[in-house]
């Protein structure tokens, strides 16, 4: 008799969000001056609160986390960004004490997390990927229960405050099975905060939410940080990392390939924007694409016809591209330009187009050794 409601957030397929929401056809100036958008400037953060050194985790022959080192500072919103299978969740789980690393050290608020994970668990809050909550209990009861698990009395006022924080005040007496997936997700964030943690870990907090709910949650997370809690989150949404995170670590194949503020990462590209199109008819030679005016990187997939050119001068590249297309009698459709973003960073670092839904080498992960008859 199941007495648990779960909503599995769908992380298997996603179109890249940024592409559609930030389509602009105005030309960017030739000089690259990226004005930092609100949220990308690191506010005054404090001393280091999490330190990972050369963290390694293997499953048989497959190395899920391959020598990860990073530092998270107090009161920052730190994001770990990367496609599925990059090792983000495994890294987080090692900090949370759910998995033992094969090598490396983890310090959380001065505590050795590998050997004293119980002390760490007292001061952190965690939202897991699956929002598994007990059926038949109301939101208020769940908050009181989890507070009790930390040996803390949870007053009615505290319950109200937490529910208000995640916008669930009117669901105070609703049972979990009467709430939508998005509401359950928000409740699980409230539960992650019940013990007033110093650090809260959110694993893919907005996956499966509609855009409005996602934006509301971003504001909630900023509110959590404003109250003094450090936030570490994983995401595969570029837009989320850019908007929400003070600093971002980009992970791929178990390694950190870049770590900086989003603005810093984009600035390092030396490009202003990317020009994208779908090639409907004909094909374009890669060499010619790469040598187009002001192009810093060219990516063309002949099978799908997807074309992406990184450029430091949009106008020059556009003109050159249209000329090239005309000469080769190629039909371009869905021609657009996008301001430089983290997807370009990923492409530039890995040479691969950012495909969040892919799980590289997931099949190489061995099935967990099972006990018993099944």
């Amino acid at each position: 008799m199941p007495d648990v409601t779960v909503s599995r957030r769908d992380t298997s397929h996603h179109s890249f969000e940024g592409k559609h929401s930030m389509a602009e056809t105005s030309t960017a100036p030739a000089a690259v001056t990226t004005v930092p958008r609100a949220g990308t400037v690191a506010p005054a953060s404090g001393p280091p609160i999490i330190e990972l050194h050369d963290l390694v985790k293997r499953y048989g022959n497959f190395t899920a986390v391959d020598g990860v080192s990073l530092t998270v500072y107090e009161r920052e919103i730190f994001g770990i960004l990367g496609p599925n299978g990059a090792g983000k969740t495994t890294t987080l789980e090692m900090i949370e004490g759910l998995r033992q690393p094969d090598a490396g050290t983890i310090r959380v608020a001065g505590i050795d997390a590998v050997h004293d994970s119980e002390a760490v668990r007292r001061i952190i809050g965690v939202q897991l990927q699956t929002t598994a909550l007990f059926d038949y209990l109301t939101s208020a009861e769940l908050i009181a229960l989890f507070g009790g698990l930390y040996d803390k009395e949870t007053s009615a006022q505290r319950v109200s405050d937490l529910l208000a924080l995640v916008g669930l005040s009117e669901k105070r007496d609703a049972k979990v099975n009467e709430m939508s997936g998005g509401q359950q997700q928000r409740l699980s964030i409230a539960l992650a905060l019940v013990n007033q943690p110093q650090i809260v870990f959110l694993d893919e907090p907005t996956t499966g939410l509609d855009p409005q709910a996602r934006r509301n949650l971003w504001e909630t997370i900023r509110g959590v940080r404003a109250a003094g809690t450090t936030v570490v989150l994983t995401t595969h949404y570029m837009e989320e990392a850019e908007y929400l995170c003070d600093r971002v670590a980009i992970m791929d194949h178990g390694q950190i390939i870049a770590m900086d503020t989003p603005a810093g990462l984009i600035r390092s590209l030396g490009m202003a924007a990317s020009v994208q199109a779908e090639v409907m008819q004909g094909t374009l030679p890669p060499a010619a694409l790469a040598s187009l005016a002001a192009v810093t990187k060219a990516d063309f997939q002949p099978e799908s016809g997807a074309l992406r050119l990184q450029t430091s001068n949009v106008q020059a590249t556009l003109v050159a591209l249209l000329d090239l297309a005309a000469r080769h009698q190629v039909v371009l459709s869905d021609l657009r330009t996008t301001q430089a973003n983290l997807e370009d960073v990923f492409l530039s670092l890995t040479g691969r187009k950012y495909e969040p839904g892919q799980e590289p080498e997931a099949s190489a992960k061995p099935a967990r050794r099972r006990r018993g008859m099944f």
């Binding site: 008799m1 199941p2 007495d3 648990v4 779960v6 499953y59 969740t89 789980e93 949370e96 004490g97 759910l98 119980e118 668990r121 007292r122 952190i124 965690v126 897991l128 990927q129 699956t130 598994a132 909550l133 007990f134 059926d135 038949y136 209990l137 009861e141 009181a144 229960l145 989890f146 507070g147 009790g148 698990l149 930390y150 040996d151 009395e153 049972k175 992960k365 061995p366 099935a367 967990r368 099972r370 006990r371 018993g372 008859m373 099944f374």
Partner: protein, 355 residues
């Protein structure tokens, strides 16, 4: 203390609000009691079996003839001791013993009846008195001394209720706990608890304690139902009965926990659970006495935990027996608990498939 009390309270709330579980754990056994009780009755007789013993006399012969002539009475004759034993075994409703005539020449009779038969006994007594008066020719003609004896007359429903309580303990423990824990694991609840400072063993303990409390409440409700509808009598020391309930509940909970250890998912757990509980239901003396079952089945019944749980409840409840009679059953139940827990701990996986 607060963490584990929080968890126990939450478990109690969840169980009470889980209507599906309530049906299987309470309504289902209650239905059995109602159905079987109605079908097979609480032992009300339309006929009165009377044993006649004592000194033969003209009066005795006339009384016997009068009773035989009536459809209401079944008459048995025999030696006084044998008849009285039959009365206490529940095979007679009343025994009429004729004694020597008194000083004034009046015949003396002693009318024995079973006090614990309640209304049945009273009906028997007044019926026999009527016949006696009639035959002897009026009230003063014969001296009747009424003597109640106390035996425990076990009617079917008295026999049945402890069996059904055993069944409900088994279902709650084995089916309830096995599917619960597998679901907790499948859905990530165990991981969610693991990231708090609350130890998983306390999480399990809280569930077990809550289940034991609920089992006790279940048993009390079923007993109350039996009393209200069918007038069953519960004998025995309440503490002894409570001990039987608790040990039975623990044994079955441990088995349920063990099943959840090596089941991959809730469907598998439910299959194992049914595989174990269904045969036990029919081979453990719930519906009929084990001694009535064929000889080749007897050894099988001796290894089934439900057999011992039912005995541990039935002996005190129906015959008022104490710890001395049921200690073997209790030891077996405790042993089941230990063995099942060892298996459970050995096999239990906190994580599901590879994440």
């Amino acid at each position: 203390m607060r963490p584990i009390l929080s968890m126990i309270t939450a478990n109690l709330k969840m169980t009470v609000r889980n209507r599906q579980a309530l049906f299987w754990n309470l309504a289902f056994p209650a239905l059995f009691i109602i159905l079987f009780g109605a079908l097979l009755g609480s032992g009300g007789n339309v006929s009165i079996t009377v044993g006649v013993a004592g000194q033969p006399s003209e009066l005795q012969t006339k009384v016997i003839e009068a009773m035989k002539g009536s459809k209401v009475f079944k008459v048995k004759t025999g030696a006084e001791a044998a008849e009285l034993k039959a009365l206490s075994d529940g095979n007679r409703d009343a025994v009429l013993v004729f004694g020597p005539p008194a000083a004034n020449g009046k015949p003396t009779t002693t009318l024995y009846y079973d006090e614990s038969e309640g209304p049945n006994g009273e009906v028997a007594v007044s019926s026999v008195r009527q016949v006696l008066q009639a035959v002897a020719g009026g009230e003063p003609a014969v001296t009747i001394t009424q003597k109640p004896i106390n035996s425990t007359n076990i009617s079917f429903i008295d026999f049945f209720v402890p069996g059904i309580i055993g069944m409900s303990l088994m279902n709650s423990g084995i089916i309830g706990l096995s599917t619960s824990f597998v679901t907790y694991r499948e859905r990530g609840i165990l991981r969610r608890i693991k990231v708090t400072p609350f130890p998983l063993w306390q999480f399990i303990l809280a569930r077990v304690l809550a289940s034991v409390l609920i089992s006790i409440a279940q048993a009390l409700i079923l007993i109350a139902l039996g009393k209200a509808l069918f007038g069953i009598t519960v004998h025995g020391n309440p503490l002894v009965i409570l001990l039987g309930i608790v040990l039975g509940a623990l044994a079955f909970l441990a088995i349920g926990f063990a099943i959840s250890g090596f089941s991959k998912n809730a469907e598998t757990a439910a299959s194992y659970a049914n595989l174990i509980t269904f045969p036990m239901l029919f081979l453990s003396g719930v519906f009929f006495k084990i001694s009535d079952a064929p000889g080749w089945l007897q050894p099988i019944t001796k290894v089934l935990p439900l057999t011992y749980s039912v005995n541990a409840l039935r002996d005190p409840m129906t015959r008022g027996l104490g710890l001395g009679a049921i200690w073997v059953d209790l030891v077996f139940l405790a042993g089941t608990f230990v063995v099942a827990m060892v298996i459970a701990v050995r096999f239990f996986r906190w994580e599901g498939r590879a994440v």
